[in-house]
């Protein structure tokens, strides 16, 4: 079976559509980050207390709120847990603000939730399944680590691509990956889902994945440039994208299948993680074709317009 035998699409000719598409999504995300939901941070980064409670029967959120209020816990955020198929589980996440978890006393928030429920909630029994308490120091520390990890992996890849190809390849790939990260974080902001530690892990994975995809196209560009030195860069890039299109679609499709299975069956604990990957893999595949490759050509055109020598970024010859 073959889906794509010989495609001959002028990808670069559509670059203005691509630019428009990328701009719309990036700008939407950035606007939401700046003015709407901001970046919704999970308890890992924001600090505070988060208690996951499993009830024996379907919980009544109003009763839980009343139980909390009666015990003097007024600023709790109560959220019913649902699995990805939309089924509401008999589980509730009760989150208390940062002020409940200081570096000196940690357990007060959890105790107040537990005692409020056992004293005032009479609908059914309950068990506390998970408690996460992050103090202000740890929250800041984790935030810093997440930023550094993302930054370092981008720098690491830039250096590797610089060494294996040429600087402009590295820059184009990093810009594409940054574009993916921005849109994914934007998607979290638009849907108001919390960014947790595992979501950061997913974002770093998708940085690696999107980089993969871009490299496959770049590798082919490099190979084709070495073979045919007379063809214009524009044509070489188009041909390379078309030649690798079959692999791009099938590989991304299969990875997407596994990630989708994770999203559907992996349980609500991994919800954010798999959501990031579902969005990221779609965007990452798109960006290798629509952002990274056109950037190479745009750079070349810019050099020509500046009257500089036409140096096809053929890079070092393919050698291993």
């Amino acid at each position: 079976m073959e889906l794509f035998r010989t495609t001959n699409i002028d990808w670069l000719g559509k670059k203005w559509y691509f630019l428009g598409f990328s701009l719309i999504f990036s700008v939407l995300g950035v606007l939401s980050i700046l003015f709407w939901h901001h970046i919704p941070l999970g308890v890992d980064f924001k600090g505070g207390t988060q208690v996951r409670v499993a009830f024996d029967q379907a919980p009544n959120e109003d009763h839980i709120r009343q139980a909390m209020d009666r015990a003097g816990v007024h600023d709790a955020r109560i959220q019913r847990v649902s699995d990805p198929s939309g089924h509401a589980a008999n589980k509730v996440i009760i989150a208390l603000p940062e002020s409940t978890a200081t570096d000196q006393s940690h357990d007060a928030g959890r105790q107040s939730v537990e005692s409020a429920l056992s004293a005032n909630y009479h609908d059914s029994g309950f068990t506390v399944e998970q408690v996460e308490i992050v103090g202000p120091t740890a929250g800041k520390q984790l935030q810093k680590q997440a930023w550094l990890a993302t930054l370092y992996s981008l720098i690491g890849m830039l250096i590797y691509l610089w060494f294996r190809f040429e600087l402009i390849y590295g820059v184009a790939a990093v810009v594409a990956v940054f574009h993916d990260t921005l849109i994914t974080v934007g998607a979290f902001s638009l849907t108001n889902q919390e960014i947790t530690l595992t979501v950061i892990a997913a974002i770093l994975t998708l940085i690696g994945y999107s980089m993969n995809d871009t490299i496959v196209v770049f590798d082919r560009i490099r190979e084709n440039l070495a073979l045919s030195r007379r063809e214009s860069l524009h044509d070489v890039v188009n041909r390379s994208i078309n030649q690798t299109l079959s692999r791009t679609v099938i590989s991304s499709g299969l990875t997407f299948l596994t990630v989708l299975s994770l999203y559907l069956f992996g349980g609500e604990v991994l919800h954010g993680f798999s959501f990031a990957l579902v969005v990221g893999i779609l965007i990452g595949t798109y960006s290798s074709i629509a952002v990274a490759a056109p950037m190479l050509v745009a750079y070349q055109d810019w050099r020509v317009s500046k009257g500089k020598t036409v140096t096809l970024p053929a890079g070092k010859r393919a050698k291993v």
Binding site: V134, T198, I215
Partner: protein
């Protein structure tokens, strides 16, 4: 070629066997049990408590310099330098001691003491107003910090071992300074654990020089508005059920922390919980001399206060000389008496501790996560395998075999290295399935291309692998870079994810490149010259 192929096949089978052994070991008591013994589950899967603590090392430095202040006062006295005051003024600089009011005539004597070998840990500087400052050297401060952190870890480990938690992790937490990571599998009541870890359990016995007073003001008035420099005011209850009162105690203790050899919970004659303690021989002798000199019948009768974590727990008159055993009766519950004697047995923490992170997962959530993770993995894997079979026909079998071997090697790696499988780690396994098949797709697509260009089956396979190899190396390196960074910056579950991702990638390099190649070569060898390849 034929012989080479047999050798490679044998090598692959050997690898398969070795990694299968890595997963299950020597089978015993059922397959699931064998796997559980080899693959360690993270706290998020088996339930437990994860804590990150910070040790306030500055306190240890402050108490070290406190001791040196007392020593320096005595040394100056001995050297005949009268009238000098030794002290610390700035609480934010615990490493600095200031000596002021040295009479001009005694300056050289004083300098001799300060620059003596006893204070080699300090940099001595004279200030303009004739004072001298001693600042602990940076190296000495670092040493003390390291020692404080190590002692804290040891103490916490002993306390947790006594609680009977199996396979706890207590180690330096590399992500922040002076932090400790504590992981307790199977413990889902963090409140009691916190109490036991956090209590510094600083126990000491001090001579009482005044009190009790009702308020701080009353205490000051009784002493003409000045607390003597060798004394301190301490709050506490004094005896069970008594209201909060204040005592004036000697700053230097008679016995403290390390002087206690053993402590056991018990009950006094009225059935109230108490703690019986024993002192080391050396401390026992000192304590005997002190109590002997201050018994009720002596010329200087005195009383002593038992101070725990800067609170007076009990004040008692000295009835007779005590050598090496005694008891503390405070307002304890039995649980408190038990916990407290445990802490006294394991020694005091050198500095107090605060909590940065607490995460607890109950066993039911962990079990549900395992279940869901396995279902997601199987569903994802089946989808990928069926697609490969349909799309690449004969070669699809090849890819599917490589995929299964990839999984075996990945899990075997984890079994051998004792790595921990976390929930994000399971996600990593699932992702490896998706990304692992990418190498096969790259190779197969390239072979198809070469076939379309009119090459023979053998040449197409040869060329396909050669070209795809360059790309495969590049893509794997970049993903390994992100896995490594995740490992360095992540903790707990995230680290588990980085581990499975990295192992999966290495396993994939082996299976996609070597194993598929051998299968292709084997097929080509059986085929007639020029026969078509099923791809």
């Amino acid at each position: 070629m034929g012989k080479n192929l047999a050798g490679k096949s044998a090598f692959i089978v050997a690898v398969l066997v070795i990694f299968c052994f890595g997963i299950v070991g020597i089978p015993h008591g059922g397959l699931t049990q064998s796997i559980k013994d080899r693959i360690h589950l993270g706290l998020d899967l088996k339930g437990g408590t994860h804590l990150v603590l910070e040790v306030h090392v500055a306190e240890a430095i402050a108490s070290a310099t406190d001791r040196d202040v007392a020593r320096l006062e005595a040394d100056l006295q001995k050297a005949g330098v009268a009238g000098a005051t030794v002290g610390k003024t700035d609480p934010s600089r615990p490493q600095t001691i200031i000596v002021s009011g040295i009479p001009a005539a005694k300056l050289s004597d004083a300098r001799g003491v300060l620059q003596g070998s006893d204070y080699a840990n300090y940099d001595v500087a004279a200030t303009a107003d004739g004072n001298s400052t001693l600042t602990m050297k940076l190296g000495a401060v670092r040493d003390l910090e390291t020692r404080t952190l190590d002692t804290s870890i040891e103490t916490i480990r002993e306390r947790i071992d006594k609680l009977g938690v199996s396979e706890p992790v207590i180690q330096k937490y590399g992500l922040g300074e002076n932090q400790i990571l504590v992981e307790l599998p199977g413990v889902d009541d963090p409140a009691r654990v916190e109490e036991i870890i956090q209590s510094t359990a600083k126990l000491s016995i001090h001579a009482v020089t005044g009190g009790p007073y009702e308020t701080d003001q009353a205490a000051l008035q009784a002493n003409n508005g000045v607390i003597p420099p060798d004394s301190m005011l301490v709050h506490g209850t004094g005896s069970a059920g008594a209201p909060d009162q204040i005592w004036l105690l000697k700053r230097v203790s008679e016995v403290e922390g390390t002087d206690f050899r053993d402590a056991q919970p018990g009950q006094d004659q009225n059935g109230r919980p108490n703690i019986r303690f024993n002192l080391t021989t050396d401390a026992g002798n000192r304590f005997y001399n002190y109590t002997q000199a201050h018994t009720a019948s002596s010329a200087t009768p005195g009383s002593m206060a038992i101070v725990l974590d800067n609170k007076v727990r009990e004040v008692a008159g000295i009835q007779s000389a005590i050598r090496d055993s005694g008891e503390i009766t405070g307002a304890f519950t039995q649980q408190q008496a038990n916990d407290l004697s445990l802490m006294l047995r394991t020694g005091a923490l050198p500095a107090s501790i605060s909590y940065l992170e607490t995460r607890t997962v109950g066993p039911s959530l962990g079990a549900a996560s395992i279940h869901q993770g396995i279902i997601a993995a199987i569903a994802g894997m089946l989808a990928v395998m069926v697609f490969m079979l349909i799309y690449y026909r004969g070669a699809g079998i090849n890819a599917d075999l490589a995929l299964i071997l990839n999984l075996v090697i990945l899990l075997g790696f984890m079994g051998y290295t004792g790595s921990t499988l976390t929930l994000p780690g399971i996600a990593g396994v699932i992702l490896t399935i998706g990304m692992g098949v990418d190498s096969n797709v790259l190779i197969f697509e390239r072979i198809r291309e070469e076939l379309r260009a009119g090459k023979t089956a053998a040449a197409a396979v040869q060329q396909g692998f050669a070209h795809a190899w360059v790309t495969i190396i590049d893509t794997h390196v970049t993903t390994i870079v992100s896995a490594m960074i995740l490992f360095l910056f992540g903790s707990g579950p995230v680290r588990g994810f980085a581990i499975t991702l990295a192992f999966g990638l290495f396993a994939n390099l082996f299976t996609a490149v070597l194993v598929s190649r051998v299968i292709f070569d084997a097929i080509l060898q059986k085929k007639e010259r020029g026969a078509a390849l099923s791809i």
